[in-house]
Symmetry: C2
Subunit: 500 residues, 2 copies
Amino acid sequence: MSEKLERLKTLLGEVADLGRASAVLGWDQQVNMPPGGGEARGQQLATLGKIAQEKFTSDEVGQLIEDLKAEFAGADPESDEAAMIRIAARNYDKAKRVPPEFVAEQAVVSSKAFEAWVEAKGKSDFSIFRPHLEKNLELVKRYISFFPPADHPYDVLLDDYEPGMKTAEVKAIFDVLRPQQVALIKAIAGKKQVKDDFLYKKYNEKKLIDFGVNVITKFGYDWKRGRQDKAPHPFQTTFGWGDVRITTRFEEDNPLATLFSTLHESGHAMYEQGQNPAYERTPLFGGASLAIHESQSRMWENLVGRSLPFWEHFFPALKKTFPSQLDGVGVKAFYKAINKVEPSFIRVNADEATYNLHIMLRLELEIAMVEGALDIKDLPAIWNEKMREYLGITPPNDAKGVLQDVHWSYGSIGYFSTYALGNLVSAQLWERIRADIKDLDDQIRKGDFSALLGWLREKVHKHGQKYEPQVLVQKVTGSKITPEPYIRYLTQKYSEIYGL
Amino acid sequence: MSEKLERLKTLLGEVADLGRASAVLGWDQQVNMPPGGGEARGQQLATLGKIAQEKFTSDEVGQLIEDLKAEFAGADPESDEAAMIRIAARNYDKAKRVPPEFVAEQAVVSSKAFEAWVEAKGKSDFSIFRPHLEKNLELVKRYISFFPPADHPYDVLLDDYEPGMKTAEVKAIFDVLRPQQVALIKAIAGKKQVKDDFLYKKYNEKKLIDFGVNVITKFGYDWKRGRQDKAPHPFQTTFGWGDVRITTRFEEDNPLATLFSTLHESGHAMYEQGQNPAYERTPLFGGASLAIHESQSRMWENLVGRSLPFWEHFFPALKKTFPSQLDGVGVKAFYKAINKVEPSFIRVNADEATYNLHIMLRLELEIAMVEGALDIKDLPAIWNEKMREYLGITPPNDAKGVLQDVHWSYGSIGYFSTYALGNLVSAQLWERIRADIKDLDDQIRKGDFSALLGWLREKVHKHGQKYEPQVLVQKVTGSKITPEPYIRYLTQKYSEIYGL
């Protein structure tokens, strides 16, 4: 192997080690840390982050990348070496463009903005958050200014989460999707609502968590290379190919959410566990993009976990575990209940039919903010207006409206659309999987997920970050990200459930 | 404040952050990590260690220390500034003398030696471990050669754990201690043995751990700044002034050991929790030496935790928790049982009367090894001979003899005497405490440990690393480390228990 490539891998391996050490510290902070540990932990994370940034943006790394681009100019662009150099170069270019002082300033501003957001949400008073959001937006615009002019300024933000993807592409996809999802919801609203009161009875926490553990074990989540703990918010985190962890939480008033969030996080985790171990500590390791990552979590949560064949397998065991709660409930009734469609205010609790509309609303607002076409003071009103237009409901207050999500408080703009794109990709992959695994439903009905996971590993997981999301989806499904499979999926599912 | 001192504190703060990040990773490795996580974790720890070493031994740090030594030449040597510079200079000098290649070589050699030791101990075959111990010893001698000639080559090793302490001092202390401990054990052997069968009945793990939690809560261990988890070996670790954790384990065949090890680790932890928060992330933070640290753990474990007043308070609760196990057992009988003296092969299980003899044996062998006065192949025979001489028993095999401790497999030589010194310091401090807190026994009998902990915080904990161990002990007790208080303590305690 090229000596320079070897050296670059050594340096990037150390940067990866620092990132993973930070991930361990972050995980511990959520899962274990006593209240007194916060200050020291913040300093440790700041120091690790600073050193990682310094190491990654060093002149030596820059020179190696330049030299290697030349050395591998004629190499197969799909080779590991060429891809690694390409991704390292992309990340290096991004990191170099953003001055360390800006990163430090943003950390301070967003930390204050986060506090203001907590207060504003608590009091449901947007005016408390407004000046902080304005500052965050100002910083976002400055961030964009560090990069060469793009087709659309929002492209710069989107590219951090979906490499190579353009705002125009996302808009085009959503323009097709929006009217059809709105129409679907209207059609459902005209039908008799399904019964789901039994989902909100008292469920024993430990039994429910154990049930989830059993399900994801059958999925193929590898416990020798992971573990699940309780945390205030469910998340997945990676400390190495051999240590991919998830967290869960229990919600008294929505107990089944515990189960579905475990399925969701296991989807993220199996993507990470399915990485090529040869990519460990290199820029090739990890998910191709947030949307691709979300396609995996949403697939296991929804396309698998909210399907009838899945519950034909698991419902008897669930009923045995919770006989009184599910007394008199059949599998079909249960299946309908967990798929109930009902426009609601809060994105994270939204069902599959309404979820994407929450995202589209946010994307439109973000684009308008970045374009400067929207005055921040008008945000709550516009939010509510769009809620009425898309979902037919009006938030009773800003806490359940414009203030509900934490993202804008960190100054994180450009992120939301990846959630909806993930849904679309999950359905798009699913059609391909169905074509390749003819008896998929029967396998799921038997609790056998090995062919499904094997397919995902081979077609998606093992490639890591080698391909940009659109390239990967094209390679696997024959077309770029497109909304049709998701629309077909929703239409078929809800036609059956609601008799459309 | 001096700009240079500010800069030095910034740099050393980052080094401290890296060390603490490593501590979090190490803790997680023991407490949580799934089996697959080992390889990546090893790389992360290696990278953090390497960066910390590079940062600490940088020319900038060296120059700052030189400049600050001059700048603070006239300052009160007991001022925080002077002490910080002095300790930084000492540590810097040590770190610079040891070449990074040596550190790397030692890591490889000792990792192989550890594996060989595990195998050797398993098969009770010293010959498997012998060549590795020879190599470890060779490296230890090379390590010594990096330093200026000392009064005794072993001084170099000892100084890493007990700053400023000389081999001759330790030998002089042990020469006084040894014959008196040997005589005490012989006297006890002539008396009727105490009954302790009830300690080895079946005890419920959770109840026993909860009992320990309750005890150390009363001691004053601050749970808002710490937590206890299960791990293969009990240990204490510090991630910051506000995050000081301990671990415990349950031993089926020695259940009460769980309780006493919790008391022991809480002693270490309260020392760390009692640090001056102004010393956070500076070289002043932490224990003065391993012996001083051990004096705290042994005090809470033994002078408090194996005392009669302590059990006069806690025994009723213990008996209520374990009524069948302790049926018919009174507090005096229990007190005698947990203080039973019986020469045994294994150091970590030794009672207070025999423990130090295990240490003295090891120290003599280590000194002989370093002097070259001992052929490694003769080690098992000499070990057994000394066991007979000091404890009157002969190990049945090498696993229970020369192979029992892990320390030599890491190449860690110079460490053992700190255990015995810790015992001596605990008794020496205890005499001072008794003089200052007249009704200490009554307080303990009431379960009130606040005056005791307050005394330790004021006299010992808050000074951190400011004073070398001998200086600290002199300041607090009026004399350097001396064996007499410990001998008085043992003699009084066992005279009562065994009617000597």
